[in-house]
Subunit: 433 residues, 2 copies
């Protein structure tokens, strides 16, 4: 009985697993050095968790189920609702600022396509309890800190920064009602992803007034900071929102990643819960979907039954990132799936017990060690096996052992051999040996 | 709107996450030094994957769902079927022996109780393509290598080793038909977990003959090796199976973990697919469920549509293990959730840009660095924040910087301070500084 894997999922054989680990280890390392602590939640939550604020697209893509107790559950399509739930549960005991990261496995029933799978991993970093846009800058810095570390430079990727607040104030200013904003954001977010006429059709549904629609499109085109400066009045709400954008850019400049960052008013983000600074990272060529996105969501904890606490964060999936890293040849074929420090070989079957003893001893001391499962095969076959396993050194137990309790240590890189006493060898192992 | 977590799942706040990481990092480290390569599969598979060979208990506990395309899926309750599927898919190109490990998240709709949750993590190691019981010994060695590393000695835990093959030959010998074996295994596996009379009732259903039932119970009681030796005839199928048990014990003795291991004929294992050596690790006190279990399953790949390839493996969940480690005080409260090497503080707001620049510079060089989000708070408050974050050192940018581009470096452990030039400090950072 042969059963295939489910469409849109991935099997991680050791070579693919090594790549996944390489990416995720990088995310974790950069999160930690930027001062974030790791958290995680369950793989499934109550279905209604995702019906609160995640937006229609996500709700339509849920993998949901009814358990034996009649509860409606869903596999998590994002981790932010879980984060909000967890923080709310302990809001009075958690020291602020809360700086947390996570690398959840997420599932969405999307149509599988380039950079989109039904199951993926997503790096999430969030800062909760900081009103200042310094926190938004820190989230963006950590994002760039990772991209830079894996070798993506300012000529490969660009961080496009904008503000939901600025857009909201602008829309109110041209007479758009508060209740229409969410719908308009969802449409504007699709601007770059749809053919121009389809987009204009959708916009017309939300903003029937031609003049207003034109103004919105103009607003989303002006990305030169001096020009925006000229358009925005002093002491206005627009000015307050615009100053936030400028401050974020200034902080990022100070932190040394200014050359990655630009103001781009076409960035809106699809999710309903953003309230301030929003951003996306795109490849410069512009062929791929966004590598990551994020922003400020000051109302989300309250929407999940908690107090009003400000928050800002970012999510980066592994699929688009991996495609880009491959295109840029930044993922070498050289990520090893196994690292054997010592392969213990025996010149004759009679040394078997010593082989197992020494392998056990090496592992107990923290070294990776291996041996052949075929005691009957000769030494040259075992050396081949050691090579195939990429062992660094081979320890050969043979005649020298019988005669004087000595081992032959063969460096598999240089092929050099030396003879050492068994006990001296064990002493030399005290790490570093 | 407040939504609770789903019963039987866990929220991993940073302190709990640190414990989970501590356990999983140990599993991964020990797997690698024992020569295993990591793999993983999707979180869900086709439902029928688990209806082939997993046994009734697991089938009843599946979290299953029907996706929008009408496919019947289930969240994985174990990873062995995925392993069999993946190995079968590439059976002709994978170099043998295949030594793989994985740490999957698994879900089972069990009644939540001590050591049993609906969602948990399980360390899996498997060796595929080796007929010799040397592979079974290696799996058991790796298991003990981990237990020993986390501080569990032979007076804390015991590896109880038995053989499905030996039991099968014995049962055939007393006239039990082949078709009855799976049912009897499932009952015998429950011996230690049920009240004596309930167990005897169940056994009677499977083995109505009183004399035969008595012989089975006798067999499961004789755990002294010399006594078993006396009972088993030379040149019999029983002798072949028994020699395998003795060989495994001998290998484990050679590998240096003999004092952990005993022959225990009461070990049967519940899953239907075992064919040879089986084992479980129990705490000596015997209060907890098995810490882990495993064994040989030579027919599973064939059952999943592949060729006949021998295999042996082990699974260890995180729940019982964590309880035992806590009981033995082997999980310190000291697992840190965050490690900050440098907290960059400023004596005055005017130094802000330098603080962000230096923090960015430190992180770029791979150091963990942090700073306060409250530029208006004074130095002493920042030092308190640095303490709260467990920062090792504080770098203070103040008057010395204005006057001579110098930094004050404060060791937060000893409270000692030294003044260093900005550029000298950066040079000293070239790792090791």
């Amino acid at each position: 009985m042969k059963i295939p894997p489910v469409k849109g999922t991935r099997d991680f054989y050791p070579p693919q697993m090594a790549v996944r680990n390489w990416i995720i280890d990088g995310w974790k390392r950069v999160s930690r050095r930027n001062g974030f602590e790791e958290y995680d939640g369950p793989i499934f939550e109550y279905l209604k968790m995702y019906q609160v604020k995640s937006g229609d697209e996500i709700v339509e893509q849920l993998f949901n189920m009814t358990d034996r107790g009649g509860r409606d559950l869903a596999i998590r399509p994002e981790i932010t609702p879980t984060l909000a739930r967890m923080v709310n549960q302990q809001i009075n005991s958690l020291a602020r600022p809360i700086k947390w990261f996570s690398v959840p496995r997420l599932c969405r029933a999307e149509r599988p396509q380039k950079g989109r799978l039904r199951e993926f991993f997503q790096w999430n970093i969030d800062i909760i309890g900081v009103d200042s846009v310094l926190a938004d800058a820190e989230v963006i810095f950590a994002t760039v800190d990772f991209l830079r570390e894996v070798g993506l430079g300012p000529s490969d990727v660009k961080v496009k920064i904008s503000s939901r607040k600025l857009l909201g104030v602008f829309l109110s200013g041209i007479g758009v009602g508060q209740e229409k904003l969410d719908g308009i954001y969802a449409v504007l977010d699709k601007k770059g992803k749809l053919p121009a006429d389809t987009f204009e059709e959708l916009l017309k549904e939300q903003v029937p007034d031609k003049d207003a629609a034109g103004k919105i499109l103009d607003f989303m085109r002006v990305d030169s900071i001096p020009e925006v400066e000229k358009l925005i009045e002093a002491d206005s709400n627009e000015r307050i929102a615009w100053n936030e954008v400028k401050n974020v850019l200034a902080y990022l400049e100070m932190m040394g990643v200014g050359e990655y960052c630009v103001y781009d008013p076409s960035i809106v983000r699809g999710l309903a819960y953003y309230t301030g600074i929003v951003f996306e990272v795109h490849d410069i060529v512009g062929e791929l979907r966004a590598i990551c996105g994020g922003g400020r969501y000051d109302n989300l904890l309250k929407d999940f039954g908690g107090p009003m606490v400000s928050a800002t964060g970012m999510g980066m999936g592994d699929c688009v990132l991996e495609i880009l890293l491959r295109e840029k040849s930044l993922l070498g074929d050289s990520i090893s799936t196994r690292e054997i420090e010592y392969f213990v070989a025996f010149a004759d079957n009679v040394f078997g017990s010593h082989v197992y003893r020494l392998a056990g001893e090496l592992r107990r001391r923290g070294f990776s060690a291996s041996f052949s499962y075929k005691p009957e095969s000769g030494l040259s076959k075992q050396l081949k096996e050691a090579s195939a396993q990429n062992a660094k050194k081979c320890v050969i137990i043979g005649q020298e052992f019988l005669e004087g309790r000595k081992l032959v240590i063969k460096d598999m890189g240089t092929s050099e051999q030396e003879v050492v006493g068994y006990d001296d060898f064990l002493v030399s192992l005290e790490r570093g040996g």
